[in-house]
């Protein structure tokens, strides 16, 4: 009674893409996830590519991919030195059906205490919730790929191309990759970045500003995301209560009180919370960039010190000089691309927020109007009886 049946939903909902705008516009490489299958815990995505680029063997092809494959791709990109100056799009979070599954389980246990109608209404709600989670996860995986395909540098990455094209199971490759790279680098990033970023002496105004902004914004958006999640959860609770109440009322045959709050809760969830959640992760990716640059700067400073030492000792000077030059180059490259990335990131963010807030407001208005019409219809009915 607690298992959710496999779902084959049709997911082409063009309005769903609200966290990132202007993706997938370049006809030379178009990616989408037209459908996905859910079995128990595993989701199988169908990644579909349409391209005119010569680096691919075919013009139009699809491959099945699992969530782990996306993570593999993300990790290899993060750990590629050449991309140190880029904001790597955040990895899609693992599909999480825990909440609706738990609720479904509880519902099954409580079935005896409810009327048939109440039970079927609750079940419907849960199925809708489940579908919403499903849609969300597909969307988030799709956006990840589309961010890559629309990035001038990342779209050319060989691993990315393998991901899109390789028609065998990627899990073999994944295992190898794990051994090569390890998670050393990742762990370092997670624990130390705040300290390192705020520690370096910034010479560049732009980066100084960005640093301040990103650190502050990051904590605020984390907070907002959490609060938005709490709010939509409360809203869902209220909606559930209304289901119970309307079921009991209709069994009292006073009149059927329409369930009005349910839809609002799940759509709100999809819009506002998702936006905040996505940008929370994106900001983290931007912070990662700052971290890498900070490390490069630290390396450069260290190489300077080493050069001074070498000059004093008159030993290994050529080596030290070359090293210093390399560090400087790396740092400059990171700064240059970093600046570009962060600027476009801001633009992207503003545009996405705008679209999302507009859509959310319009949806709220639409729902409120619907609810009003329903309620007024109800009132008319009651009054005329």
């Amino acid at each position: 009674p607690s298992s959710v049946p496999p779902v084959h939903p049709c997911l082409r909902d063009s309005g769903a893409r609200s966290v990132s705008v202007d993706l997938n516009n370049d006809a030379s490489l178009l990616i989408d996830i037209p459908d996905a299958l859910c079995e128990r815990d595993k989701v199988k995505f169908t990644v579909h590519t349409k391209t005119t680029l010569s680096c691919f063997q075919k013009l139009d092809f699809s491959v099945p991919r699992q969530h782990e494959d996306f993570i593999w791709l993300h990790d290899t990109l993060v750990e590629t030195e050449d991309y140190a100056g880029l904001i790597i799009p955040p990895a899609p979070p693992k599909p999480d059906f825990e909440s609706p599954r738990e609720k479904m389980h509880k519902l099954g246990e409580g079935e005896a205490t409810m009327t048939k109608e109440e039970y079927s209404k609750m079940k419907q709600e849960l199925e809708a919730e489940y579908l919403a989670v499903f849609k969300k996860t597909v969307q988030v995986h799709e956006v990840f790929l589309q961010r890559l395909s629309s990035h001038p540098i990342l779209s050319k990455d060989r691993n990315f191309q393998i991901f899109l094209e390789y028609d065998q199971d990627l899990s073999v490759r994944r295992k190898n990759a794990k051994e090569t790279f390890g998670s050393f680098f990742k762990n370092m990033v997670k624990s130390a970045d705040e300290v390192i970023i705020s520690g370096i002496k910034e010479v560049d105004d732009f980066f100084e500003q960005e640093k301040t902004f990103l650190l502050d914004y990051s904590s605020k958006i984390k907070d907002s995301t959490a609060k938005a999640e709490k709010m939509t959860r409360s809203h869902k609770n209220v909606a559930d209560d209304y289901i119970h109440i309307s079921a009991t009322l209709s069994s009292l045959s006073v009149d059927d009180n329409t369930k009005v709050e349910g839809r609002v809760a799940s759509d709100e969830e999809l819009k506002l919370t998702e936006l905040l959640r996505y940008y929370m992760r994106d900001i983290q990716a931007a912070k990662d960039l700052l971290y890498r640059r900070a490390r490069a700067l630290a390396d450069y400073e260290n190489s300077n010190k080493a050069l001074d030492k070498a000059r004093l000792k008159s030993k290994d000077m050529a080596q030290a000089e070359e090293h210093q030059q390399q560090c400087l180059q790396k740092f400059d490259k990171l700064s240059e691309s970093g600046k570009r990335e962060l600027t476009s990131f801001k633009g992207r963010r503003v545009v996405a927020f705008r679209k999302n807030l507009i859509e959310m407001a319009e949806l709220e208005i639409k729902h409120a109007k619907n609810n009003m019409a329903l309620l007024q219809g109800c009132i008319e009915l009651l009054k005329s009886n």
């Binding site: 500003q209 902004f213 502050d216 914004y217 605020k220 958006i221 907070d223 907002s224 609060k227 938005a228 709490k230 709010m231 959860r233 409360s234 809203h235 609770n237 209220v238 209560d241 209304y242 119970h244 109440i245 009991t248 009322l249 069994s251 009292l252 006073v254 009149d255 009180n257 009005v260 801001k346 503003v350 927020f353 705008r354 807030l357 507009i358 407001a361 319009e362 709220e364 208005i365 409120a368 109007k369 609810n371 009003m372 309620l375 007024q376 109800c378 009132i379 009651l382 009054k383 009886n385």
Partner: protein, 510 residues
């Protein structure tokens, strides 16, 4: 058991007055009697209906009258019954569909006056007196200090009905006065089958807070909850056509001084007696196994059991709703603050402004949620609580009927035993003992007859009461639900306004 048969304490108007207050059919059979034999209160002998009612039936022969389907005139069945049984009733019948309630023995309470028009017609009373009365309970004021302090309430009655002395009366009452009123009404009417609306519950915690002088939100809420409950209680009581005319009710509403109802205190002698009686009743209920031959009662009993369950369930759901909505309000407020801070942090000006606007919108929505929670509670939840208690009163009325039946059966058994012993005495040569036995038998026969009449009467009354209750319930619920839905509509309208104001801000992000 004899104690239960005690006539209800009558008001100052006297026995006859009480009989007039009941509906027409009671003119044939006197239910209230201190004597052993039926005492006719009307010019005619009160024996006719008895002939028509067979001993073994549990209800009067009214198979073709369906009480539940009678939406218009609650007393219509009285008319039909009269016409079936007693042609001599014509003179009373000719007054129209309603049996004459105009007093045979005028009293000081009932001043005959022409009723002129209605202010708010809620229900037609058979008096020709339109039901037009409005009671408000207001101005709670703490009187006294410390543990002896109490809350006094102003009770204002506005009416055009003739049974009241004035069009508008204001008196001050305290909570125990309300309880005292209920107690009197219950002892008068419950055992003959009238559904007496229960008074609001005592609350030791709530009252202690008030007495101690705790001036905070929860004690203000408590006082308001109680004030509202007292008002609903009075309105429900006067909506009952019989209770409305009860002298105790009228005195409660009009009299400036009321004798203090001490027996309502929980730990008083009367309070303890009540508790003992309640326990005894509960035991009795378990032991009485009634032979229900009237399907209507069986069905209704079941219906009320179901209704009770459903209402309790609904009450629980609504309380959960109130709780969740309060939570939603808190979470919305906290999100609003967070969004404001995010807006401050945002360096893109237009986006920053939009986020601040969003925060404001959410703040307003939070206030909306709070108001909605208030409506949820006061409209819905309290009504449900009232009805859960009302259903208890209904169930106790059904129990009273069982008790009446049981008493009747017991008297019959006793009569049988006496007859048996009389038969034995016939052969033993004890003439004085035999005479005594014969006397006792005659007495018991009368009692049995009375018991049967009582049972029939209470069954009849309950049928009427239940029908009236159902009507009231549907009306009550409908009215509250409509009001509640309208409050929801208002909330939605406000939401639309807020979001429509926000939209241009969002669009302005460039």
């Amino acid at each position: 058991m004899a104690a239960e048969m005690e006539p209800p304490p009558l008001g100052n108007a006297g026995e006859t007055d009480f009989r007039e207050l009941e509906d027409g059919e009671d003119l044939f059979v006197s239910t209230v009697t201190t004597l052993e034999y039926p005492e006719p209160s009307s010019p005619e002998p009160a024996s006719l209906p008895a002939e028509d009612i067979s001993i073994n039936s549990n209800g009067p022969k009214q198979k073709d009258v369906s009480f539940d389907d009678d939406p218009e005139d609650l007393f219509a069945e009285a008319t039909e019954e009269v016409s079936l049984d007693s042609p001599e009733r014509e003179p009373i019948l000719s007054d129209g569909p309603s049996p004459a309630i105009t007093p045979v023995t005028p009293t000081t309470m009932l001043t005959p006056r022409m009723d002129l028009g209605a202010r708010c017609r809620i229900e037609e009373d058979n008096n020709g007196d339109t039901f037009d009365i409005h009671i408000a309970v207001s101005d709670p004021e703490k009187v006294g200090d410390g543990m002896n302090a109490y809350m006094g309430y102003k009770v204002t009655t506005k009416t055009s009905m003739t049974i009241f002395n004035k069009n508008e009366t204001t008196v001050r009452r305290r909570f125990s006065d309300f309880l005292g009123l209920h107690s009197k009404l219950a002892s008068k009417y419950l055992h003959i089958g009238y559904i007496v609306p229960p008074a609001p519950e005592k609350s030791i915690v709530g009252m202690t807070k008030v007495k101690v002088g705790k001036e905070d939100l929860s004690s203000a809420e408590f006082v308001e909850k109680r004030r509202s409950a007292l008002e609903r209680y009075l309105m429900r009581t006067v909506k009952h056509p019989v209770l409305l005319k009860d002298p105790d009710v009228i005195m409660f509403l009009e009299s400036s001084e009321l004798p203090r109802a001490v027996s309502t205190q929980a730990l008083s002698g009367a309070g303890i007696l009540r508790m003992v009686n309640k326990a005894a009743d509960a035991v009795n209920k378990m032991t009485i196994k009634m032979n229900e031959s009237d399907a209507w009662f069986e069905e209704k009993h079941q219906q009320f059991e179901n209704l009770d369950l459903q209402l309790r369930k609904l009450h629980a759901s609504v309380e959960s709703l109130v709780c969740h909505r309060k939570e939603l309000s808190v979470n919305t407020a906290s999100f609003a603050k967070s969004a404001a801070m995010l807006g401050n942090s945002e360096d893109h000006t237009a986006l920053s402004r939009a986020l601040s606007q969003l925060a404001e919108v959410e703040e307003k929505i939070d206030r909306l949620h709070q108001d909605q929670a208030y409506a949820d509670f006061y409209l819905f939840s309290e009504l449900l609580g009232d009805y859960v208690r009302l259903i208890t009163a209904v169930k106790s009325v059904f129990d009273q009927r069982m008790k009446t039946w049981s008493k009747w059966q017991d008297t019959q058994l006793l009569l049988q035993k006496k007859r048996e012993s009389e038969a034995k005495l016939q052969f033993a040569n004890k003439p004085d003992k035999l005479q005594q036995a014969k006397d006792e038998i005659k007495e018991l026969e009368g009692k049995v007859e009375q018991g049967e009449k009582d049972f029939e009467l209470i069954s009849k009354t309950i049928r009427k009461e239940v029908s009236r209750f159902e009507k009231e319930r549907v009306k009550d619920f409908k009215a509250v639900i409509i009001k509640y839905l309208e409050s929801l509509v208002q909330t939605q309208q406000q939401l639309i306004k807020y979001w429509e104001a926000f939209l241009p801000e969002a669009k302005a992000i460039a």
